[in-house]
């Protein structure tokens, strides 16, 4: 996938115009919730080790 990141994966707001320092900091202890490419809410499963997040359009990411 080579699409440019457009949306904040924590709050779902536009990520290109302004930085989201609060979201970036919070993301250290949270999985992503929004797809960066299309802003859809993802189905997120947190596991004891790691997490997975699925966008219906852009597929699964893991962390």
């Amino acid at each position: 996938m080579t699409t440019t990141e457009l949306w904040c994966d924590r709050c779902g707001e536009a990520a290109t115009a302004t930085a989201h320092p609060g979201c970036a900091s919070a993301r250290q202890l949270e999985p992503p919730r929004f797809c960066q490419h299309c802003r859809r809410r993802m189905k997120v499963q947190v596991l004891p080790v790691g997490w997975s997040a699925v966008c219906v359009e852009h597929g699964e990411i893991r962390g």
Partner: protein
């Protein structure tokens, strides 16, 4: 030395009798300069009445989000504009999560579902999931599935679930400010049935929901009356989109005061660090709590948020010379 700590040294450390509500309140109101002494005493109480072992647990969400209840702190309620979507974990992934948990040395694996209470589908998933875990992993299985019927309690016992978590969350007087879709008394009724079934009772709550210090003391006293095997202590991690999403986090020193006070109210319980410690206490505070009455941890990630790596906690326990409780010791 403040009078309450002298009293606690005799009564709690000496005789194993927990502080009452007034005593807990006195500890919660101790000025900062006496906090180290309170933590030291709580640590001595823990070492005397529980021992040096630390119980390590992992938790996993079997059914996330879409909950019909309105617990104001929770990102999994379907009634708020939280970004958390509904998702189910399949059984192979559940077993894998149990394996990952056991690999840390944990003896407890708690399966959690965001529901008012289980339906037939969830109970079926539990029966298959618990059996699959027991066939593949050496770990004790606990569950947290909301309010239960007597039949469901019996079913969980039959599956081999050894401990049931059902948090009262906060004191009785403040509960209606936090949850309106069910009552504190309904939760108490589930806890009573769990107790009667022979399963171990795990019941704690969350500090920082907007309760007063007096209500924190009330909560400790109500938990002490219940006398749970384990008390998980959470600190609010304000979640976007929830009614409590803009609340401030609990001050580190207030969190430590609460840890000491809850230990002095319940000298023999397993007092577990649960969610929110990373943001409320940080690394230094985490250590202070383990030296101030805490004798159990949740390692790894939580249900919808992430924790610090299990290795960080295990290294800290090693450094503090606190052995991880072994499976043989719990059976």
């Amino acid at each position: 030395m403040p009078e309450i700590l002298d009293q606690a040294r005799t009564q709690v450390l000496g005789d194993g009798v927990g502080l009452d509500q007034a005593g807990v309140l006195a500890v919660l109101n101790l000025p900062d300069e006496h906090l180290p002494a309170a933590l030291q005493l709580a640590h001595e109480v823990r070492m005397r009445w529980c021992g040096p072992e630390v119980e390590v647990e992992g938790i996993v969400s079997l059914k996330t989000g879409g909950c019909p209840e309105d617990c104001h702190f929770c990102s999994q309620s379907g009634l708020f504009t939280s970004p958390v979507r509904s998702v189910w974990l399949d059984i192979p992934s559940l077993v894998e999560a149990a394996k990952q948990t056991a690999a840390t040395g944990a003896t407890e694996f708690c399966i959690v579902a965001a529901v008012r209470g289980p339906d037939a589908r969830l109970m079926k998933q539990m029966r298959e999931g618990v059996a699959a875990i027991k066939a593949a992993v050496d770990i004790q299985v606990a569950a947290s599935l909301g309010m239960l019927t007597k039949e469901q309690v019996d079913d969980l016992v039959d599956m081999g679930v050894h401990r049931y978590n059902h948090n009262l969350e906060t004191c009785r007087s403040y509960f209606p400010n936090v949850v309106t879709t069910h009552s504190w008394e309904e939760r108490w009724e589930t806890l009573r049935m769990v107790r009667d079934s022979g399963m171990e009772v795990c019941c704690g709550g969350i500090l920082g929901l907007g309760e007063t210090v007096e209500q924190r003391a009330e909560f400790a006293a109500q938990l002490a009356e219940l006398d749970p095997h384990e008390v998980p202590l959470n600190f609010l991690n304000p979640r976007p989109g929830t009614p409590l999403g803009d609340r401030p986090v609990v001050e580190g020193k207030d969190a430590l005061r609460a840890i000491a006070a809850f230990r002095l109210a319940m000298p023999r319980t397993i007092l577990r660090y649960a969610g929110g410690r990373e943001i409320t206490l940080g690394d230094l505070g985490t250590r202070d709590g383990l030296l101030g009455g805490i004798n159990a941890v949740i390692v790894g990630n939580y249900l919808t948020t992430l924790g610090r790596p299990a290795t960080a906690d295990l290294e800290l326990l090693n450094e503090l010379k606190m052995p991880v409780k072994a499976l043989s010791a719990t059976l």
